[in-house]
C-alpha cells in the first residue's frame, strides 16, 4: 500500500459553484433541445415549461458564474494564478500534457501534473478553462440575458446586429459549451480510478498516491 497525501483542493464555494453550474448547464442543454426542435422533442408536456425552465437555469448559471468570479477574484485572489497559463505552461507545459493524454497515458505513465490549491489545473486545463470561463460562459450568459429581454434591451440587440445574429451566437456558443461538457466529463474519469477526480469536487479532498514511478513523470 502506498502512502497517501490528502490535499484540500476544492474549497466549499468552488464546490457549490461547480455543482450548481453542472445542474444549470445540464438543465439548459436538455430544455434547449425541446426549445429548438419542439415539433420533434416532447420532453416536457408544455413548450412554455421548457422555456421557463431554460430561462431559470440560465439565471442559475449566471448567478453561479458571479459566485465563481467573486470567490476567485476577491476572496481567494488566486484567479490569475489558477486560470492564466504561465510562459512555461505555454512553451512546454501544454505539449507535455498533450503528450501525456495522447501517448504516455496509454503506456501507463503517471500524469505529469500534480495539483495544488494554487496550481490545480494542468497547462491544457488552464488554457481550456481560460477560454471557457472568460469567454464562452460570459458570452453565452449575456446573449441569453439579451434573448430573454428583447424589448427592453432592443438597442443592445441591434448593436449586436439583430436578433438572428444574437440567436446564432447563443446557439453556437452553447453547442461549444455542450461539446466541452462531453470532453470535461470524460477527462474527469481519467484519474487512477474513474472517480478519483470526481470525488474531490464533492468532498474537497484529493488523495494523492506517493510517486512510485519517477521515470514516468516527464
Amino acid at each position: 500500500m502506498s502512502p497517501k497525501n490528502r490535499i484540500y483542493l476544492q474549497p466549499t464555494p468552488v464546490r457549490i459553484w461547480h455543482w450548481l453550474n453542472a445542474l444549470g448547464i445540464i438543465t439548459l442543454c436538455i430544455t434547449a433541445v425541446q426549445i429548438r426542435f419542439p415539433e420533434h422533442v416532447h420532453l416536457f408536456e408544455n413548450y412554455k415549461d421548457a422555456i421557463l425552465l431554460h430561462n431559470a437555469a440560465g439565471l442559475v448559471v449566471t448567478f453561479s458564474f458571479t459566485l465563481w468570479f467573486i470567490y476567485y477574484a476577491l476572496v481567494s485572489r488566486s484567479m490569475f494564478k489558477v486560470y492564466v497559463p504561465s510562459v512555461d505552461d505555454l512553451q512546454n507545459g501544454i505539449l507535455r500534457q498533450a503528450k501525456f493524454y495522447l501517448l504516455t497515458y496509454f503506456l501507463g505513465w503517471a500524469n505529469p501534473h500534480h495539483p495544488t490549491p494554487d496550481n490545480k489545473f494542468n497547462p491544457m486545463q488552464k488554457s481550456a478553462y481560460l477560454a471557457i470561463m472568460f469567454l464562452l460562459v460570459p458570452l453565452v450568459s449575456l446573449t441569453g440575458l439579451l434573448l430573454t429581454n428583447v424589448s427592453p434591451m432592443r438597442d443592445l440587440v441591434l448593436l449586436v446586429g439583430g436578433l438572428k445574429i444574437l440567436i446564432a451566437m447563443h446557439f453556437l456558443l452553447a453547442c461549444s459549451l455542450c461539446a466541452f461538457l462531453f470532453t470535461h466529463v470524460y477527462l474527469a474519469t481519467l484519474g487512477k480510478t474513474a472517480m478519483a477526480y470526481i470525488k474531490p469536487m464533492w468532498t474537497g479532498w484529493e488523495e494523492e498516491e506517493a510517486e512510485e514511478h519517477p521515470h514516468h513523470s516527464t
Binding site: R36, I51, L163, A168, F171, A179, F182, V185, L187
Partner: protein, 351 residues
C-alpha cells in the same frame, strides 16, 4: 272619350316609367355627388367629412354611397330627412352572425371597431392597425400587465402579434414584414411603422417597394432582403416581422393551443415558408409584395430582427452545431477506445 282614354293611358304609362326609372336615376348618383360636400370639413363639419384619400379605394366606395344610404335623393340635405344607414349584416351576414354569438357583441357594435368609410380587406390591414382597434377599449398597459403574468416576454409578443392571432379563430397565418423607421436621428430610439409619406420620401422618387425590391420585378428575393438589411443607407430602417392571419374570424375566442405556445413555436419551419413585404399605401391600407419562400428562415441577414424560437431556426446553423457537438465527442470516443484497448498497461495503478 277617346282623348280621355288616351290621356289616362299616358298618365299610367308615365307613372310606370317614372317608377321603373326612379331607382336607376337614384343609383345614377355618383359618389362624387356626395363627396363634393362631404369631402370638405368646412361644408359639413368634421364629424361628417369623408376623406377621399381613405375612402375612394375601399370596397364600400365601389358599391357606392347610395348602397348604404338608400334614402338619399338629389334633394338631400334640403329635404330635411335624416339619411338611412344600411345595417352591416345586410351584406356581411355570416360575419354578423358569428360576431353576435361572441362575448364582444354585448360591448361593441361593428362601427366601434370599423369605420365603414375606411375599410380594407384582411390582407390590406397592417397588424398594427388591427391592434389599434383593440386598444381603443383594451388599455395597452393593462393588457401587457395581464399577459406578463404568464407569457414570457409579453411586451415582445404584444408588439409583434395582432391580438386576433391568439384571441380568435383567425387562420391561414403568414409572416408580414413591415418597414419601421427609427424616430429622430439619434443613435438610439424606438422604431415605429413607417408611413407612406416617409417611405415615399426615402425612396427618392422611385416606387417605394424598390427600397427592398431593387430589380423592380414585383418579387423580393432572399438576396434582395440581405442587401436591404446590410445596406448602411438603410440603418434607420428595420423590417419588423409579424405573424398575421389572412382569414379573419369575429368569434373572439382565445385558442387553447396559444396558451401553451405550441401553435406558433412548435409549428416547425414548414409553416414559416410564406412571407410578404407589406407596404403602406396613401389610403392607409397596405399592399403586399411576395417574398421568396422560406426567407424568414435565413440564418443571419434575411430578416435579422424576426426570430420565432423553435419555428424559424436555421437548418445551416443546425448542421454547424452538430459538427461542434460531434467535435466534443472525439475525445470520449477516440481516447476512450484507445484507453479500453490499452487498459492492461495501467493495471499497476489500480492495484
Amino acid at each position: 272619350m277617346i282623348t280621355q282614354i288616351l290621356n289616362k293611358i299616358m298618365q299610367v304609362g308615365l307613372l310606370t316609367l317614372l317608377l321603373a326609372w326612379s331607382p336607376a336615376m337614384l343609383a345614377a348618383m355618383e359618389n362624387s355627388d356626395c363627396t363634393d360636400c362631404h369631402g370638405d370639413a368646412g361644408t359639413v363639419g368634421a364629424a361628417l367629412v369623408i376623406e377621399a384619400r381613405t375612402f375612394d379605394h375601399t370596397a364600400h366606395a365601389q358599391v357606392g354611397c347610395h348602397a348604404c344610404h338608400a334614402s338619399i335623393t338629389q334633394d338631400h340635405p334640403d329635404d330635411g330627412l335624416a339619411p338611412s344607414k344600411a345595417s352591416c349584416s345586410e351584406c356581411h351576414d355570416e360575419v354578423s352572425a358569428e360576431y353576435n354569438n361572441s362575448l364582444h357583441a354585448e360591448n361593441a357594435v361593428c362601427s366601434d371597431c370599423h369605420n365603414p368609410h375606411q375599410v380594407h380587406g384582411p390582407t390590406a390591414v397592417s397588424g398594427h392597425a388591427m391592434n389599434l382597434q383593440c386598444a381603443a377599449c383594451h388599455v395597452p398597459a393593462e393588457v401587457q400587465e395581464q399577459h406578463a403574468v404568464w407569457l414570457p416576454q409579453a411586451d415582445l409578443h404584444i408588439s409583434n402579434l395582432p391580438c386576433v392571432t391568439c384571441h380568435s379563430a383567425a387562420d391561414q397565418h403568414v409572416i408580414s414584414l413591415y418597414l419601421t423607421r427609427r424616430q429622430g436621428d439619434a443613435l438610439f430610439g424606438s422604431f415605429e411603422l413607417a408611413s407612406y409619406d416617409e417611405l415615399r420620401s426615402l425612396a427618392g422618387g422611385k416606387p417605394i417597394e424598390q427600397l427592398v425590391d431593387r430589380n423592380a420585378d414585383g418579387y423580393i428575393s432572399l438576396a434582395e432582403l440581405r442587401l436591404f438589411n446590410l445596406d448602411p443607407q438603410n440603418k434607420q430602417l428595420r423590417l419588423q416581422g409579424m405573424m398575421t392571419p389572412e382569414r379573419l374570424s369575429h368569434d373572439f375566442i382565445s385558442q387553447d393551443d396559444r396558451w401553451d405556445c405550441s401553435f406558433c413555436h412548435a409549428s416547425g419551419p414548414e409553416a414559416m415558408q410564406v412571407s410578404y413585404l407589406s407596404l403602406a399605401e396613401p389610403d392607409g391600407s397596405f399592399r403586399r409584395v411576395a417574398v421568396e419562400q422560406g426567407a424568414v428562415l435565413d440564418a443571419l441577414y434575411g430578416t435579422p430582427d424576426f426570430y420565432m424560437v423553435g419555428s424559424t431556426r436555421s437548418t445551416a446553423l443546425n448542421y454547424v452545431g452538430l459538427v461542434i457537438l460531434a467535435g466534443g465527442l472525439v475525445m470520449p470516443i477516440g481516447h476512450g477506445t484507445l484507453r479500453f484497448l490499452t487498459r492492461k498497461n495501467r493495471k499497476h495503478e489500480e492495484e
